[in-house]
Symmetry: C2
Subunit: 124 residues, 2 copies
DNA sequence: ATACGACTTAAACCATGGTTTAAGTCAAGC
DNA sequence: GCTTGACTTAAACCATGGTTTAAGTCGTAT
């Protein structure tokens, strides 16, 4: 089994080591292994879980929610339905956020158009 | 000229008075008037500017950027082009954010589909 | 004249999501 | 054997975006 050090993972994911340690401390990287010297070992499985963390973080899931999701993964089958619910709710929040941004785009476009016209009038 | 008190504006926009005072303190509500007793008076103009602040906040513009934009509005015509640039950049960030969320939707959908299948397999 | 409700301020407090710092451990190369 | 680089920790620090608290000022209704 190939393991990556925190430095390698930091480079691969372009995430500061301090952030990876912070995520571990906050419970976002459960079941992480250590070598005899206490150094974190990231397996392929850990990398896949970290990829999920990155997805959730980029889509604005709070750290406490990510932690709960990761804890449920560790608990296994009994939490399948709760994880399904959580993903459905998260998807809905993502759709709501997309809708909100789309709804505000015309407001920004109006300001852009108005400024273009005003600039034309200012210097004829 | 009809003026609204901070309590009325709070109720109209559904924003806590404490937040409105915080925005004022941070320079998001320039040119706000006061009565003889020092109480804030929101004119129609102020309400329109507050509506813009709400739009920017909902679309995740940082408070410091909103403040700069509001300061440029006060400066008037000389800042028209900079405000146009700012709106174009903000629109692009909104589009980028929409694209990012859209790009992650399939990842979430895969998890949802996977959980549905696993739950079916668990209880036949 | 006094109590009440709506407002004011400055300063303290809070949550979130980290980064930085200081001190230490360990393996490897010189 | 000793330095160097990569790692470890706890604790302090930081930025953002507010809310809460304490103390005070008005205007009005009783």
């Amino acid at each position: 089994m190939k393991y990556n050090s925190i430095g390698e993972v930091s480079a691969l994911f372009n995430i500061p080591e301090s952030a990876l340690r912070y995520y571990d401390k906050k419970g976002l990287l459960p079941l992480i292994e250590r070598d005899d010297a206490g150094r974190r070992l990231f397996s392929e499985r850990q990398m896949a879980l970290l990829q999920a963390v990155v997805c959730f973080k980029n889509t604005h899931m709070p750290i406490n929610s990510i932690r709960k999701y990761m804890e449920m993964i560790v608990e296994g089958a009994p939490t399948l339905e709760r994880r399904l619910d959580m993903m459905r709710e998260h998807k809905q929040r993502m759709l709501d956020e997309i809708a909100l941004l789309n709804d505000y785009l015309p407001t920004i476009d109006e300001k852009i158009e108005r400024y273009i016209k005003q600039i034309e009038e200012e210097r004829p």
